[in-house]
Assembly symmetry: C2
Homo-oligomer: 666 residues x 2
């Protein structure tokens, strides 16, 4: 509850950007200040509470607490200065808004986010060295371009002199690295002589392909190394604690063991909500010789075993079977159930979905098409009803049956939206484009279902769904960086470009309300809405800059040349560093989840489940759904392919040195 409250306050604090100058929805300064004050007080109270619980020494040694104190102080200071300056009628800047997203990083719950930041901080020195080398290469190439092409009186498309100013060349070639101005930047030289293409080819091969790949390599490697080290420490701590627990619980002399009774009591203590069957299963996995006690190695695995998510399904009888057994057990009913369970049923509905896709593509104002829609909806509802008739409802809607939930929600909402739409249409009182939009979206989403029937597609999608929550960490990271850049950008560039809606008669619409933009590519391409006038536009603009294409156009015409620094900085931080980390993360997580086989512990657990099939009668263990926690996944990411776990347990077994085939000289 309190955790949620903290997040709500942070969100409110961040959302204030919507209402402050330059605002999407303007609110008076006193109102936003009041809300911010409440948020700050809330954070202060939380911190004070935390300080009371935690010993003072630990509290003050923790950098994140210091950070929060500093942020709150600075925010208060800024509010006072801003208020005073505004009252006295001076120009004032709300510079403390940049600090707000840092709260998100520093609350105790933002552990994954802090980890991502730490991994960036650790990679930074290496990235910087590489970046300087890369910039050196760009500078050398620019100098060469100046010398080779500057004196040839070439002209760009706009008639400007081509490659005559060194700093402009540096900037143009930096943009070429992002590929945004290819091939335009090359054309004048290439038109003059084909040989100049060689210069640009060399430049692209070296800077765009090689250096950018090396950036990815450095980021990927650092990301991996750092996370590995963290996970290694976590695993080591865990194993040490387990070894300690073992030494407390052990019995017997020569080969100390832990008895089943002790083990049972421990598991029940650690995980009170575990079912008896699950506990019994874990014991069977640990004590695979049925000796009634387990050794140290098997005992230490307990923490990992508990980490593996085993879904326990009670194989209940269908409620209809209990209520109307005569009918449910009849031949017709059994035939229906057999039909629904048959593979052809799935294929039939896949075919229906494909036919439906064609109908969706057709013009929906045709009466045949719109009545066909009702027909398809009926079919889909029938499918769900049939499935509910065949399968036990609670099993059907079990938490891990993603696609069942997806189907049902989509179909029921589509049904509702279509009925509402039809009702509105028939009474002719109100036709809303919005409801129609929702109907369309739901209809199209229905088609995704077809993916589930193809085994290999399902594997990929499941992997993506599994790493989805981890990707959210990057979402937060991006949010923090975007927010900071948006705040700075809004202070620097607000109001420079105006957007006029299409039906505005204002002649300024032609040049986005800025006479400097007359006849520029920016205005001609209708980019007026790419501005920093409010926080939403800023975020969309920053996303466009992340995608990189056309970013030089977006910025070239906006303002002063020095604004390029802002954009180059953004490019370095977001595209070179964060996006590479994102790619590195997907690379690692996808390879582990999709391609690498299950680890030994999971395999042995699954084997045991198969072996014990008859013993565990009233429970049904589904196949393992992977690790339930973030740390579990991380541990798995770095256990596979390395001898991490071997090393961690090295202190217990001494014979493993033999496995190293290279001979040491000592």
């Amino acid at each position: 509850m309190l955790h949620v409250l903290v997040y709500v306050f942070i969100l409110v604090d961040l959302a204030l950007a919507l209402f402050e100058e330059p605002a999407l929805i303007p609110l008076p300064v006193w109102a936003t200040s009041m809300i911010e004050l409440i948020c700050l007080v809330a954070f202060a109270v939380r911190l004070a509470h935390f300080a009371k619980v935690v010993p003072r020494r630990i509290f003050l040694r923790d950098p994140k607490n210091i950070c929060i104190i500093v942020i709150i102080t600075l925010c208060l200071l800024d509010m006072i200065i801003y208020g005073a300056l505004k009252v006295s009628g001076n120009y004032a800047v709300r510079w403390s808004r940049v600090l707000r997203p840092l709260l998100l990083v520093n609350v105790t719950e933002g552990r994954q986010l802090r980890r991502a930041f730490r991994s960036i901080r650790n990679a930074l020195p290496q990235i910087l060295v590489l970046f300087f080398l890369f910039m050196f290469s760009v500078l050398i190439f620019s100098l060469m371009a100046l010398k080779l092409m500057g004196k040839r009186n070439l002209e760009t498309i706009e008639g400007a002199p081509y490659f005559t100013n060194y700093l402009d060349i540096v900037f143009d070639l930096y943009v070429l690295v992002t590929t945004a101005n290819s091939p335009d930047i090359m054309m004048p030289a290439y038109n003059y002589s084909s040989f100049f293409a060689l210069f640009f080819i060399l430049y692209i091969v070296i800077n765009t392909y090689t250096f950018m790949s090396v950036f990815l390599a450095v980021v990927y490697n650092n990301y991996k190394k750092y996370l590995k080290e963290e996970v290694r420490q976590l695993v080591r701590a865990k194993r040490q604690k387990m070894c300690h627990a073992f030494s407390l619980l052990k019995e017997g002399g020569e080969e100390p063991v832990v008895s089943k009774a002790h083990w049972n009591r421990l598991v029940r203590l650690v995980q009170p909500d575990i079912t008896n069957a699950h506990r019994e299963l874990l014991w069977n996995v640990s004590d695979h010789h049925n000796r009634g006690h387990i050794g140290k190695v098997a005992f230490v695995q307990l923490a990992d075993l508990l980490n593996i998510q085993v879904i326990t399904l009670k194989s209940r009888a269908h409620p209809l079977h209990t209520w109307i057994p005569a009918i449910y057990e009849s031949a017709v009913s059994k035939l229906i159930c057999r039909m629904v369970r048959h593979r052809m049923f799935v294929y039939l509905y896949d075919a229906i979905i494909l036919v439906n896709a064609v109908f969706i593509g057709l013009d929906e104002e045709d009466p045949v098409v719109s009545s066909a829609e009702w027909f398809f909806l009926t079919l889909y509802v029938l499918e769900i009803l049939l499935k509910l008739y065949t399968f036990e409802p609670r099993t059907f809607f079990a938490r891990h049956h993603f696609w069942n939930w997806f189907d049902t929600i989509i179909i029921v909402s589509a049904l509702l939206a279509t009925v509402i739409n039809a009702a509105l249409k028939s009474c002719k009182c109100y036709t809303s484009r919005q409801i129609l939009d929702i109907v369309f979206i739901l209809r199209v989403l229905r088609l995704i279902r077809v993916v589930d029937s193809i085994q290999r597609f399902r594997a990929i999608i499941n992997t993506l769904i599994k790493i989805g929550p981890l990707m959210l960490t990057f979402g937060q990271l991006i949010l923090v960086v975007y927010y900071i850049f948006a705040m700075v950008g809004m202070e620097l560039f607000k109001g420079k470009v105006q957007f006029f809606s299409a039906d505005s008669p204002d002649p300024a619409r032609e040049y986005c309300g800025n006479a400097l933009l007359k006849d520029t590519l920016f205005a001609r391409n209708n980019y007026c809405k790419n501005n920093f006038n409010d926080v939403v536009s800023s975020f969309v603009l920053l996303l466009e800059l992340t995608v990189v294409n056309q970013w030089h156009d977006i910025l070239r015409d906006v303002t002063h040349v020095s604004a390029r620094i802002f954009f180059v900085l953004f490019h370095i931080v977001v595209v070179i560093i964060i996006m590479n980390i994102f790619v590195a993360f997907i690379l690692e997580a996808f390879i582990i989840e999709y391609i690498v086989e299950k680890n030994d512990l999971q395999t042995s657990l699954e084997k045991k489940i198969e072996e014990l099939n008859l013993c565990v009668e009233h429970l049904l263990f589904s196949s393992l759904a992977g690790y339930s926690t973030m740390d579990g996944l991380l541990q798995r990411m770095f256990e596979t392919g390395t001898d991490l776990s071997a090393e961690v347990i090295a202190d217990t077994s001494e014979d493993m040195n033999f496995s190293n085939p290279s001979f040491s000289p000592a």
Copy 2:
């Protein structure tokens, strides 16, 4: 010699594209046909020779021989058909030209290239599954776009209806994945309502970022897995042969060993040009207890030890020391040598280079600047002379002293070019822009030297130089694919777009000689030279398509809509598959070479060199320069981080099972 000849014939065969229709330098058909015939005969002769040497069964089982036979036959067939059609005045296509680059793949020397192709072929099934899923996602998004935006009567910048045709939407959204038309494709919808930005953000996050990263993950993983398997087999074969050699050479009963005498004879047999000191060093590393014989484990390492490149430097006296000892040993001479060896000497020249950089940036027509150039040249020549005075010349120009070579070549050529340029200028008989260009290039290249003084830059550069030869494999791969696409493109699109030089009075210059291109973005951006009219332009155009940006513009206006298929295919093959493999390769190679530490064998060799410092008196072993062969690097790439070598040697040592901490249920 013969290997070089084969490559020359292949290059001539490939270069024929320059002279055949559509030609850069037109030659009559009989001339090109004659040359091609000669090449084909050469390949046939080579194959016949090969067939004589190799047993028939092995020869026919090898797919690459079959491939070459088929290619030669098809080429001959095509030449005859083409000749006959041309003589009878019909339209004819030289379709066999597409097959030519396959010769490059199939000659026996193209082992690395074939390996790259095999690794692509093996990754293909997984890439295809992913690609279908990705296309499904694009199709679903397109359908949604059609339904949401098609009915809103929006217009693009050019005034065309926006998102009304399903196939156009699919294509536009495919282009958006490559980011080439961002943000233009979004602007009409975004201008209409900010909410539509959400649609595009979601699209970009899912398709551009997630799917493209997953493509990289799949390609990277497959590339690694496959190469690993190949290297594993190589290593296994090598170890087995070494074990066999051991069993032949072994002496003694209980613990069989190989004596030093046997070992010496073996090494001299295997590597006749090895120096005695080098051989002695390797023996010392193997027999680190000085027992006069080595066991199996140490013996098996011999092949790897020989693979480590140890540069042997004879520490010779300086020739001047021999010729004029009195002067060379004088106090002044010794002071000069000490100065040159001092660190400040390097810093001084770094400072000079930086000052020089500023002068290069200035206008070279200023007399002060041009005379300064002579001053700097003198300084650089002086530096080389001083270094040659201090260091022994043969040591200075040793093969692995890359930067010394680089410096000297650049300075001497710059000197020559500047002198020639000055001579031409003073006699006023001829002023060539080309020589001046060369002078400029050499001047700028000189600046690169500064990189060498910064330790961390040097490490990166050295790594890049080391993986450079491996990158050439990708150069060949790209060449093969480009050649095939260029041939097809030239047949399909030749002559559709004309390029007119800037001073041409022809009004057709405005629209690239194609009335269809009037007032299009293509003509407006002056893209006329991006065409398929000869093989050089085709290659440049394909490079632009590889860089991706603006590719939709380059192709949109060129020809028929169906030409999109050509370009999408190119994008899939080159950008999604080959470029990802390139990135995967750099990722792996750079991480191994730059970041991972030296392996155990290298470390023990280096330690031994330090230990034996006094024993090896007249020889100087420099620090190890890494593996000399491609296979060595590959083996290293996959030995580190995995227990590959452990596994290979598993048959000899049985105790290693203990290192696995997870317990098997059996």
